[in-house]
Symmetry: C2
Subunit: 205 residues, 2 copies
């Protein structure tokens, strides 16, 4: 009997660096959890592989997944759907793998209601000025777009109250270490390990 894996959700405000932290985390050699693959209705870009980068489906297929309650969360951007397929996550967890999701705040809150046993980590910037500096430093967006993201982040940061842990993203390596600490600690949670110990105690009698 393999123990059911954990669901680990990393989220945080617009522009905080969720993707960077997630990539650094998965580059560590001792990380053994699965990254959840999203489903999308957009066309694959050159080099993207179905079942690796995304699960690519048609709009009808995606809507059918929604109707069947098989999306852990989803959102519509412009003309396409993006979401997290629940059967894939459940399959991984049932096989004993911890599943890791990196997702924006709205999606995370949809998951919270469906998976209350998930571990919800909120990545937060050191401050609003620091966040703005980070976005300007990336040089990928115009000032009006950056200002819009900052306004969005200000609305999103107080949503940390709905999470279990808060990790400061002042330095990527430090944030990664803190996330690893949380995951190691959560593996010692009584509700995760008690059945095994009590079964063992029963055997000893």
């Amino acid at each position: 009997m393999s123990k059911r894996g954990m669901l680990i959700v990393l989220s945080g405000p617009s522009g905080v660096g969720k993707g960077t932290v997630r990539k650094a985390l998965f580059n560590k050699s001792n990380v053994d959890f699965k990254y959840s693959i999203s489903m999308t209705t957009r066309k694959p870009r050159p080099g993207e592989k179905n079942g690796k980068d995304y699960f690519f489906v048609t709009k009808d297929q995606f809507k059918q997944h929604i109707r069947k309650g098989e999306m852990l969360e989803y959102a519509q951007y412009v003309d396409n759907y993006y979401g997290t397929p629940l059967p894939y996550v459940n399959k991984m967890r049932d096989e004993g793998h911890d599943v890791f999701l990196e997702i924006e705040v709205n999606g995370a809150m949809q998951i919270r209601s469906k998976c209350p046993d998930g571990v919800f980590i909120f990545l937060t910037p050191p401050s609003i000025p620091a966040l703005k500096k980070r976005l300007i430093g990336r040089g990928t967006e115009s000032m009006p777009v950056i200002d819009k993201r900052i306004e969005k982040a200000k609305r999103e940061i107080p949503m940390m109250r709905n999470y279990d842990y808060v990790v400061l993203n002042d330095k990527v390596s430090k944030a990664v270490e803190k996330i690893m600490t949380i995951i190691r600690s959560e593996r010692l949670r009584v509700n995760r390990v008690m059945p095994d110990y009590l079964a063992k105690l029963g055997d000893d009698k």
Copy 2:
């Protein structure tokens, strides 16, 4: 403003090695929490100092503390009282120190009801035969006494369900490392850090 310190409670069944693990933990150089000093009505042994090894008080004084609700937990053994004074723990926590308590199962459960924000860690033996082997190996107790402790431990182990975390005491250094991981992780709990972050966000506006 210093943040209120955590209360960390290490408990576990009779003979599991709570004291050994606690001592190894406090021998680590990077441990900065306070060890809670117990109060007792027994006489000081040679070399024991009031306010360091114990707070030594009279029975009348101890009973008055109980009446005033100033004992976080207490128990009577033979003819003496032993307990944890709440004002001392609160003072340490208010000053921002994390307070560490090593205590038997009944005492821990008294504390749980008074300090629901505490972090409750249950130290468990690998198995009942392993626990028995450990007690025999210590060579400090007769077989009938050991058998009584084993029976007590069997009743106590299922009480792990009332704790937050379970740490296996297969090897002291590993148990210590796990306790450190739990404490580091608990410092990132949203309810502990959110006020600071939100105050900061307010400053940024």
